[in-house]
Amino acid sequence: MGDHLTDENLVRRAQEGDHEAFQALVRRYESLVAGTVIGMLGNCPEADDVGQETFIRLYRSLKNFRGESKLGTYLTRIAINLSLNELKRRKRRKSLFFQKPIDEMHDLPDEGADAELDEDREIVQQAIGRLEAKFRSVVVLRLIDGYSTEETARILKIPIGTVLSRLSRAQKKLKELLTPYFGA
């Protein structure tokens, strides 16, 4: 259900209590939220929980959602804030999730082209995970979710200049981390 319906229609139906309409919205925006959350937290069970929480927050705020911002942007803002909270919690717990030495990535199984692609993705993901949260968030929004610099600035509530400088520093750091794996 819902493939032919616009976001506004699905939101209106969900506001009226139509669960199928809300489920259609979840399906529609799963990939966007997954890109943000997994980009920020890595592919871990907490990412799934944060993804679920993002949609639960949307469900709870549906009555107040007036469509002033695009639903995707609204969800991304929730997802990025929840991810940043999770990172703070992680920092407090001194989790070692992203502290794994980048050399350990070579331990991944190598079984053909798919495995190689997965390994590359894993390396990139772990390199992103080694960035500070403030740099990671701009990389995720701009390069993974594909938001413009203006949209990224609006979502993170920071000036465009800050987005650009963080993006530039993040890319330099990522280049430094990834060069040993993908060559100079």
Partner: protein, 144 residues
């Protein structure tokens, strides 16, 4: 602020260069093979970041979200039921208590024939003179 060519190269991917900067970068790229290579590397890096991120959660994500919403709603309605029954029980206790208090007030009024507030509470009405002229005039010696 004057930007260096490396900064301009990174910024050029996000479309934030002035016309002068674009021109400067264009000329620098034409002159330097190393810079052109660097541009390709940045493009490849950005490509691998955007294509490398997983774009889905574990299977049946939408179903899990809906289940979590239903569970939360049921838990909320359970909590609501508990709160309502607690309110109902308290209301009964409050009603019985208020009735008992009213009966006691009425009993005191009937007993003393005094319809004042003090009479209803069963407080004996004494004047200041009556209190001061209390028959208690024992001395310390008597007490000892």
């Amino acid at each position: 602020m004057k930007k260096n060519i490396s900064e301009l190269l990174y910024l050029s991917f996000d479309g934030q260069l002035t016309e002068d900067e674009q021109q400067w970068l264009k000329e620098a790229l034409e002159q330097s093979a190393q810079l052109r290579q660097e541009k390709e590397r940045i493009a490849a890096l950005r490509g691998s970041i955007s294509s490398g991120a997983p774009k889905s959660f574990r299977p049946f994500f939408a179903e899990r979200v809906m289940r979590a919403i239903t569970t939360a709603r049921e838990a909320k309605s359970g909590l609501q039921r508990f709160s309502e029954s607690l309110q109902l029980a308290f209301r009964r206790v409050a009603l019985v208590g208020a009735t008992v208090i009213l009966l006691l007030l009425a009993f005191n009024i009937v007993r003393t024939g005094d319809v004042s507030f003090a009479g209803a509470l069963g407080i004996p009405q004494e004047t200041l003179v009556e209190v001061l002229e209390s028959p208690f005039d024992a001395t310390v010696e008597d007490l000892l």
